[in-house]
């Protein structure tokens, strides 16, 4: 049983890194950035190229993770300033359509840059082995994912609840008008928050590259799981995202033990149940 629990935990970890980024961008924009999965995919392909260019050593591995984070953060900031800012005053639906349109643009960019072939990258040498836990063998790389997720989670918590920057972020997320009237430069902070969220999508993508293969459909695959997580956990809640990824991860892991034929619907079933009991998510707030 323990091995199933741990299996579920690893995917939850990777998903959390990306989902926490989505929660951040939701806080900044008040809408779901539908292109979040596409940014994750772009980051994965970029990481693939970077990993190929640089030698297989621990230093370079972490350097690539950091660089991809920065690139995606920068790209996210650009998207916010150049595209999203112009339509803040429009209906929510138009903003959603814009992010939806970005999905196709990014998909074509990836296709144009890397072609249609499947790509896979071997895990870095220093993380290539396995670890024994209670008699079960687990790939070492999976634990890196887990550790990164913990760092991201703790880092976000520290940033948001123990720093001045965090106070500003929370203020803008909760009540942008009030924040504005208190003299906070809301547009600039919005860009920064959005950039940070995109950077986290990038980090997730770079982390996922050695673990799962790259293909042109991966933007949609992760987007679906992100939606399930956000709906279960509640929009705008980080703790909700943690709960969401854990539920999804464990439901998938144990679900195949119990009713293997229904693997397709486990995540959606969990989401549907939450929607019936608490439509704004387990830790969300009714708006």
């Amino acid at each position: 049983m323990l091995n199933f629990f741990i299996s579920g935990l690893i995917y939850s970890s990777m998903l959390f890194v990306v989902a926490s980024g989505l929660v951040l961008t939701f806080g900044a924009l008040r809408i779901i950035n539908l292109a979040h999965g596409s940014l994750y995919m772009l980051a994965a392909y970029l990481a693939y190229s970077f990993f190929h260019l640089l030698p297989d050593q621990p230093l370079y591995f972490f350097l690539v993770l950091f660089i991809i984070f920065l690139i995606l953060a920068f790209l996210g900031g650009m998207i916010e300033v150049v595209l999203l800012r112009r339509i803040y005053r429009s209906e929510h639906i138009f903003q959603l359509v814009l992010t939806f349109g970005l999905i196709w643009v990014i998909s074509d960019v990836v296709r144009g840059g890397w072609g249609v072939g499947l790509k896979a990258l071997a895990k870095p040498e220093f993380l290539g082995g396995s670890i024994l836990i209670a008699g079960y063998s687990f790939p070492t790389y999976n634990f890196l994912i887990f550790i990164v997720a913990i760092i991201v989670g703790l880092g976000l918590w520290f940033l948001l609840y123990r720093t001045n920057v965090g106070i500003v972020i929370r203020a803008i997320t909760n009540d942008p008008d009030m924040a504005n009237s208190l003299g906070i430069n809301v547009p600039m902070w919005r860009t920064l928050i959005f950039a940070l969220g995109c950077g986290l999508a990038g980090l997730g993508g770079a982390l996922a590259t050695p673990w799962a293969s790259l293909g042109l459909g991966m933007d949609w695959k992760i987007l679906i799981d992100l939606f399930i997580v956000i709906v279960i956990g509640g929009m705008g809640s980080y703790a909700g995202a943690i709960i969401g990824v854990l539920i999804l991860g464990q439901v998938n892991a144990f679900g195949i033990l119990v009713v293997p034929k229904l693997a397709l619907i486990f995540g959606f079933l969990a989401m549907a149940i939450v929607l019936l009991i608490r439509p704004w998510g387990l830790l969300g707030r009714p708006e």
Binding site: N3, F4, S7, G8, I10, Y11, M14, W104, S107, D108, R111, G115, V116, G117, L118, K119, A120, A122, S130, Y136, S137, F138, P139, T140, Y141, N142, A208, W211, A212, S213, L214, G215, L216, G217, M218, W220, K221, I222, I224, N252, A253, F254, I256, L257, P260, K261, A263, L264
Partner: protein, 425 residues
């Protein structure tokens, strides 16, 4: 109305006589121009023969259709270099179906009604192909899917659809069932992606295997969703059940992810692995991480086909000049499908759709994977299935399939009687 207006203008500005002259002269001039244009002698260029292509060229379907389209284009180029089809140059019109049956259907309508196309090629997904198939039947237009996983010449088959150069779930399933019957393993675990082809292949395989070797036992089965990225729970469940061998029908990234993640658990040291769908592209993506000694099935074996069949060698080399991904499988399907069209036109001596159809029924063509016969009733080609074992070779940076066994023909296909029953005849 027009004449009245002209009149009016000229009355305002100039003389009435000038206006009247123009209103008479212009129509006369127009008539002269029209007559000249109408009776102009026909150009020396023969009218092109238009073929329409509709396939998913973006997103995750691209990996199947883009190489297939490349194969089709190579064939079109060769045909045109040899003088075209019965002297008429082939013009290929390409449309992106975007993995949406409604978009594919509207593209098909446009191609047939506006462009006057009488032959359509369609790429995966099967849902798109079936939507166009219904349209093709109604419009009496020839439809050649290249590729599509579904058995479109089975229950939904009809006179106007042919699948001559691409195999089906029955073929890959039956072939692997025959192959495994000779192996010593008894306890099998089955895992397949949860889609139609996944279920069909596994069920055909298991049917044939249990027929030939009744003592085999299924210790479990799992059906991960198509978009699954994380197989750790599945791997854990399988290893816990302790089978002798696993049969996997996991296409594309699913198969690659499964293998890479399973390696970390020491899977391949303990359990034999049989991948019903292991294409060259998959082996290229896996690279050095490919486990040696696993069994793989495919529609185009590398380097076997290139070494054995001259057509394969030629198109493989061409493809390697244009692309670096070694996606030969669907490329060969696209190319082979066009070969069938070329041969059928040659045999029929006509570009009339009905005559091409009559010629294609029962036609045997030499392709990149050997000789294929297109069955008369079903319109399905008896495409070979290649089964082999993975091994590393010093010549290539990725694993190859060796010890190839070829299965082909009616032995590994659903019988004509069964198809007749399916179609309700």
């Amino acid at each position: 109305m027009e004449i009245k207006k002209l009149h009016f203008h000229f009355i305002k500005g100039g003389t009435e006589m000038k206006g009247k002259w123009l209103t008479v002269a212009v129509p006369i001039l127009l008539c002269i121009v029209l007559v000249i244009g109408w009776t102009k002698p026909a150009t020396t260029q023969p009218k092109p023969f238009k073929i329409g292509y509709i396939g998913g060229l973006t997103g995750f379907l691209a990996i199947y259709n883009v190489p297939a389209l490349a194969g089709i284009k190579y064939a079109v180029e060769e045909i045109n270099n040899e003088g075209g089809l019965l002297g008429r140059p082939v013009e290929l019109i390409v449309r992106d179906g975007k993995d949406r049956p409604d978009v594919s259907l509207s593209e098909a309508r446009d191609l047939v009604h506006k462009e006057g196309v009488t032959t359509l090629l369609a790429g995966t997904s099967t849902a798109m192909v079936l939507a166009v198939s219904a349209f093709a039947k109604e419009q009496k237009v020839l439809l050649l899917p290249a590729p599509t996983a579904g058995h479109v010449c089975g229950k939904e088959g009809h006179r106007y659809i042919f699948k001559p150069a691409n195999y089906n779930s029955d073929m890959s399933g039956f072939a692997m069932g025959e192959y495994l019957a000779a192996k010593p393993w008894k306890k099998y675990y089955l895992i397949g992606s949860d889609y139609v082809a996944g279920h069909e292949v596994i069920s055909y395989l298991w049917k044939r295997l249990t027929e030939k070797k009744p003592i085999v036992e299924k210790v479990g089965e799992l059906w991960p969703k198509m978009i699954e990225r994380d197989f750790t729970s599945y791997i854990t469940a399988i290893m816990q059940a302790n089978p002798e061998a696993v049969i996997a029908m996991l296409p594309g990234t699913a198969g690659i992810d499964f293998i890479r993640q399973a390696k970390g658990f020491g899977f391949f040291k303990k359990i034999e692995y049989v991948s019903v769908l292991l294409s060259t592209a998959d082996l290229v993506a896996l690279g050095k991480e490919t486990p040696e000694g696993i069994i793989g099935g495919c529609e185009y074996a590398f380097p076997y086909c290139g070494e054995k069949y001259p057509i394969a060698k030629r198109i493989q080399e061409r493809y390697d000049r244009d692309y670096k991904d070694h996606n030969y499988t669907t490329m060969a399907v696209g190319y082979g499908t066009m070969l069938f069209l070329k041969e059928a036109v040659r045999k029929a001596g006509s570009l009339d759709t009905e005559k091409i159809i009559d010629a294609m029924e029962g036609l045997t063509v030499e392709t990149a994977v050997g000789r294929i016969k297109c069955l008369e009733y079903s319109h399905q080609g008896a495409v070979p299935v290649f089964l082999g074992v993975t091994a590393f070779s010093p010549k290539y940076p990725f694993a190859i399939l060796k010890d190839i066994k070829v299965y082909q023909g009616e032995k590994i296909m659903i019988s004509e009687d069964e198809i007749r029953k399916m179609r309700g005849e």
